[in-house]
Symmetry: C2
Subunit: 179 residues, 2 copies
């Protein structure tokens, strides 16, 4: 049952990167909980892109919060002027990797953490993608593209070399239920 918001104050409003508020809420049992923090993000999109040679398209970039250079799937914010999550995914994959085309299907919707995040992460599988142009990066993006076989992806997951839970969840859902 929903909690009633008694009071709400924004700590930061910097769309789409960081909008945070702190609520005072009343629970169904009557208890009042002060200082419940909520992160308001636009929805995000993640893409499992696979070439015709069954190679998985990954990006490698430095992640400043966690302090690691990590392999991840292509992913990003769904912009207000993206027509749909699918179109956002196609845009992100092309910008970050130069790969495009292929047959796209929706795989799963997940949340980074329902306790703190308001947004949904839409994940698509794109089969048969090809390198169709050069990367188109912002001046502050430094992204390497790497291709891995299915077995290499599974080994990276098994060895905790892929740390981004949203991507591990999506990839294992694909391997377990669809592939």
């Amino acid at each position: 049952m929903e909690w009633k918001v008694l009071k709400s104050r924004y700590i930061s409003r910097d769309k789409p990167w960081f909008t945070a508020r702190v609520d005072t809420v009343k629970l169904p049992n009557g208890e009042v909980l002060e200082n419940y923090y909520v992160l308001e993000y636009p929805d995000w999109v993640t893409v499992i892109a696979i070439t015709e040679e069954d190679q998985f398209v990954f990006i490698e970039q430095y992640r400043h919060a966690y302090g690691v250079t990590a392999f991840e799937l292509s992913a990003g914010v769904i912009d207000e002027d993206d027509e749909s999550p699918l179109v956002a995914g196609q845009r992100e994959l092309l910008e970050e990797t130069g790969f495009g085309g292929g047959q796209w299907s929706h795989l799963t919707n997940l949340c980074a953490n329902p306790g703190t995040h308001t947004n949904t992460v839409h994940t698509y599988v794109a089969k048969g993608v090809q390198k169709i142009e050069e990367q188109s990066l912002d001046r502050t993006e430094d992204i390497n593209v790497r291709l891995f076989s299915r077995e290499e992806v599974l080994q990276m997951i098994k060895k905790d070399e892929l740390v981004q839970a949203l991507h591990v969840a999506a990839l294992l859902k694909y391997f377990h239920f669809s592939a």
Copy 2:
């Protein structure tokens, strides 16, 4: 390669719930990026608890940010006075569900989002747990305990009924590599 922090300012310091800062950083290519937001959390722990009858212990609670009542694994913050992530997991499971005992092993370390989160989520598998006492909840916690079979857990994952990516990733790692 690491980014150099030129400036850093805290937006919120409310440990352990919400410590957020905004950095100005210099990239290896010389570019300066302003307003990079970092969420500093203590490490978290998640527990896949399985009874001797092969039933998986889940909790059901309202998640205010995402606005859903959802099934999740038992999980929580590793407190400063927890001896280890393992002990924190045993404490959380007992408090939230009343289940304890069993054989515990480490399964995986993940991150909710390396782009924004500083903390690691340590996940353990506890096999052969039993109900050994009543739940011990805070006045603002309203948690139902539910047991599911392995097949039911897989179906919930397949149908996107488990939305918490950290838990989906951990469960599928367990099913895929260990179970």
